[in-house]
């Protein structure tokens, strides 16, 4: 090990595990991240996994950052290289001066050696050989042994780790001691043979505060329960499946009446059916939702147009993955913005929400149901694999018990008695929103026929050009209402010349990128979009800045197109910054893209005058 140990860096590093899918590494790696989190250190985890169940390469990356820089950072400080197949690329990804931990039971091939990194060989296979007789156990415990090695190299609190092991195997107590033995085996080896800890290490911190560590899909499923969804219909597709699974798991605990369920969940035969069930249930007054990904949204198009035109509430979670087509199904992207906003034929457009954190997934899980009922239209919530499937540090979930569901304009039997003539699509309030009734409400009032064909204000079929036109105009008025009530953007405006717009998980590396840009003299105001249609604030922000970067994770600058299209904005003003290779966008990428845009002289002008 190196003797030229530089200054010690605490709680600031990137560790990446390269494993083989299905080798049991996931739980060891998860324990590693959780242990750091339990030590109060802010961490972000990223699973980079194949669309395969067993045998293909998989990576798990942990960003450790007391500064709360939890987006992806380029370069790996410590690579735990456990997959011989990917050695070449794994070795290449280590930063100069970084470390490579590998199983030295077999010597590392000469061509893999790098002069500018440190190799740490641990004979993992040999270490487990005498301890465990069963070959399957051997390979499982290898993971625990390297966890022990890491605990020594990084100075992870050992009690925290052993505590995690005990918690993990609670109920299977006979597994606890062998796991602890394996941890000690690795730790002892490191202490005896590897010298001291690395120059980057961890120590107890109060950086986490009261935050929780959870994935966005779990948050979404819980949010739907709190928001009162009683029907969920879905069709399995990565990375959305765990939304429905979380809903079911928690509903089975939280929505029971004795042994009977106060909810229904259907794994449908396909996405068309899933959204049809949601629409049928919502039409009949039950809050309902589905979760899918890009291919599912494509299939749901026709039904979404029906729900838009017939004005039926529906909530759809789209956990985006890399397209087009099946694309890279286990990689993240923000590439369904346009297909969600304009899903279906004809003049159709939809309300879209863009959560950025698990807490926001929880909130939008409930808010989307309110908005759907209020606006009587589908609400599409665009999360992505990065947010949905990775454990993210998040503010804890909150629920105000005085909060009331907004069920929108729905008439009861008593209210119907007061009405002279019920008209489903009459715009009584000038907000473009009509009045609904649920089937079975009243013996002879309030029944109407729902259809995807044109109809008049009383829901009667019509092909009258005037009636059709008036109806389309009213839908446009409703759209304006939507722009006023959807979640507002989050804006930081110091009157600078340059602005940056982003949304969803692109928010994760933003602070780090902004801080680094500021060091280079580039000061940027920011706006995190949270919903479509865009509210006034969105266009004012653009108006108030000379140049605005639109940073997103798709090739075609989809949000930029949406802004240009909906706000009639001069495209020259909106500079696209796009990353779409399937990993999450990094602070480095954002920083360099923006910095490269400005020459030295232009940079000087930027800082010269700020309003």
């Amino acid at each position: 090990m190196s003797s030229d140990t530089p200054q010690v860096r605490y709680n600031d590093c990137v560790i990446r595990f390269a494993n083989v899918n299905g080798s049991g590494s996931a739980s060891a790696n998860g324990m590693f991240a959780k242990a750091l989190f339990r030590m109060g250190i802010p961490v972000a985890t990223r699973n980079i996994f194949p669309s395969n169940i067993q045998g293909l390469p998989t990576w798990f990356e942990v960003r450790v950052s007391d500064a709360n820089y939890l987006g992806r950072r380029e370069g790996v400080d410590l690579m735990v290289a456990m997959n011989a197949e990917t050695y070449t690329e794994d070795v290449a990804s280590v930063v100069p001066g970084g470390y490579l931990l590998y199983d030295s039971s077999k010597p590392l091939a000469a061509h893999l050696k790098r002069d500018d990194i440190h190799e740490i060989g641990v004979p993992l296979a040999q270490l487990v050989l005498p301890e465990f007789s069963d070959p399957k156990q051997r390979s499982l415990f290898k993971n625990i042994v390297y966890l022990g090695v890491l605990s020594a190299l990084l100075e992870i609190d050992f009690d925290t780790i052993t505590g995690m092991v005990s918690a993990q195997y609670k109920g299977k107590d006979h597994l606890i001691q062998p796991n602890i033995n394996a941890l000690e085996l690795g730790r002892g080896y490191a202490q005896t043979y590897l010298g001291g800890p690395l120059p980057f290490r961890v120590r107890f911190s109060d950086g986490v505060g009261d935050r929780i560590m959870v994935d966005g899909n779990t948050a979404a499923g819980l949010g739907a329960i709190y928001g009162g969804a009683s029907v969920c219909a879905w069709y399995p597709i990565t990375p959305s499946t765990s939304v429905a699974e979380a809903f079911e798991k928690y509903a089975n605990q939280l929505r029971m009446d004795g042994d009977q369920r106060k909810f229904a969940i259907i794994q449908a035969e396909d996405e068309l059916s899933a959204i049809g069930i949601v629409i049928g249930a919502a039409w009949n007054g039950a809050r309902s939702f589905t979760a899918t990904s890009g291919p599912g949204v494509s299939l749901m198009g026709e039904f979404l147009g029906l729900a838009y035109f017939a004005e039926i509430p529906a909530v759809l979670w789209d956990i985006q993955r890399a397209g087009p087509s099946t694309g890279m199904p286990t990689r993240t992207q923000q590439s369904d913005v346009l297909s969600a906003a304009y899903a279906s034929h004809g003049d159709t457009k939809h309300v879209v929400l863009f959560p950025a954190t698990p807490k926001e997934c929880f909130e939008f899980g409930a808010t989307s149901l309110d908005l759907a009922d209020r606006l009587q239209t589908p609400i599409l919530v665009l999360s992505d694999l990065e947010l949905g499937m990775n454990d993210n540090l998040s503010e804890p979930f909150e629920w105000d018990d005085s909060r009331r569901y907004d069920r929108g304009k729905v008439l009861t039997a008593e209210q119907l008695d007061e009405v002279e003539r019920f008209g489903r699509y009459v715009d009584l309030d000038g907000d473009g929103i009509g009045t609904r009734t649920y089937p079975g409400t009243h013996p002879d009032k309030g029944a109407f026929f729902t259809r995807g064909t044109s109809r008049d204000e009383y829901a009667v079929y019509t092909e009258s050009p005037e009636e059709y036109h008036a109806n389309m105009q009213r839908l446009e008025r409703k759209w304006e209402t939507a722009a006023k009530i959807v979640p507002k953007p989050e804006i930081t405006n110091h009157g600078r010349k340059v602005g940056a717009i982003f949304y969803g998980t692109t928010a994760l590396p933003m602070q780090e990128a902004l801080d680094q840009l500021a060091e280079q003299g580039i000061e940027v105001d920011t706006m995190r979009l949270r919903a479509f249609p865009f509210s006034e604030e969105v266009f004012s922000f653009i108006e108030e800045h000379e140049e605005v970067f639109v940073i997103e994770q798709n090739r075609d600058s989809q949000m930029r197109s949406l802004l240009v299209n909906e706000g009639e904005i001069d495209p020259a003003k909106l500079v696209p910054v796009t990353y779409y290779a399937g990993l999450s966008i990094s602070a480095d990428f954002i920083r360099d893209s923006i910095a490269d845009h400005y020459s030295a002289t232009k940079r000087a002008q930027l800082t010269e005058v700020t309003r």
Partner: protein, 351 residues
Amino acid sequence: MTFVAKPKAHHPKLPKNELGLTRRDYEGSVSTLCAGCGHDSVSAAIVQACAELSIPPHMFAKVSGIGCSSKTPSYFLGNSHGFNSVHGRMPSVATGAKLANRELYCIGVSGDGDTASIGMGQFAHIVRRRINMLYVVDNNGTYGLTKGQFSATNDLGSTSKKGLPNLYEPIDLVSMALQLGASFVARSFSGDKRQLVPLLKAGLMHEGFAFIDVISPCVAFNNHSGSTKSYEYVRGHSESMIASDFVPPGEEITADYEPGTTETVQMPDGSKLHLNKLDADYDPHDRVAALAHVQQRAAAGEIVTGLLYVDPDATDTHEILNTIDTPLNQLNEAELCPGSDKLHSINESFR
């Protein structure tokens, strides 16, 4: 065109049901289908069945896909909510509607195109799911609304109005429903009200998924001699029971024949249909025998009509899912929202 609801001036002589309502109270708006269209007879039979069952009209939810047949929910039960959804997807909408409120009677109307082609997947799966509803297919062996293309229920070799033969094997929806586990399976003929009305009533009362395939001739596109879904052909090849008291101007063809007999129906254009009415001693509790019977008669060129199979101990989706008795759409916030205390301990589990 706009439709005005029929005035519900109560005819003093119309018989009243247990709720004091007459058939008029179960009617819908005026049909815009072709005069003599079999689908109108099915609607009339639904009106009669619902009235005779004395179910309050607003307690129905009507759902359909797209097609002439799928338009018909407008023409019955004007005091119920209806939902004319998208082509082939009525089963999913019905599933959602029924999950939301298990107390409503759900009537789904579809066509042979809507069910046996574009909606085949959804049809198969709603049968499996056992939604407690009445699913009626107005089966005319053609795409009426798009002007007469072949549908998947057309028999091999039957001809289109233009005389072109159908080149592909037919799908028999009744056999499919039996195979997929439907707990109530029947077939009838739109013009045989004496058989159809009791079947509709039984289907509505069935506590599970009830399927009725109603052969319902299209007078515009599939009522010629080469068609096996014409009035004529069905009457001539049907094995089954009934009389019709509803005869729209001129063209509707009715069948009134006794159980166990075969009636050949002559179509205006000379085609014949052989309906075979199930014998009075036919046992409708044997799924395997039902399937065999349907196929044996089909091999003999006959269409079996009547109640083919019923499982008196049927279950439905709510039973399978073990949902509470209260309709889900009637649960209030206190019953739906777990509250902040629970959330604190959930947060704790993520630390």
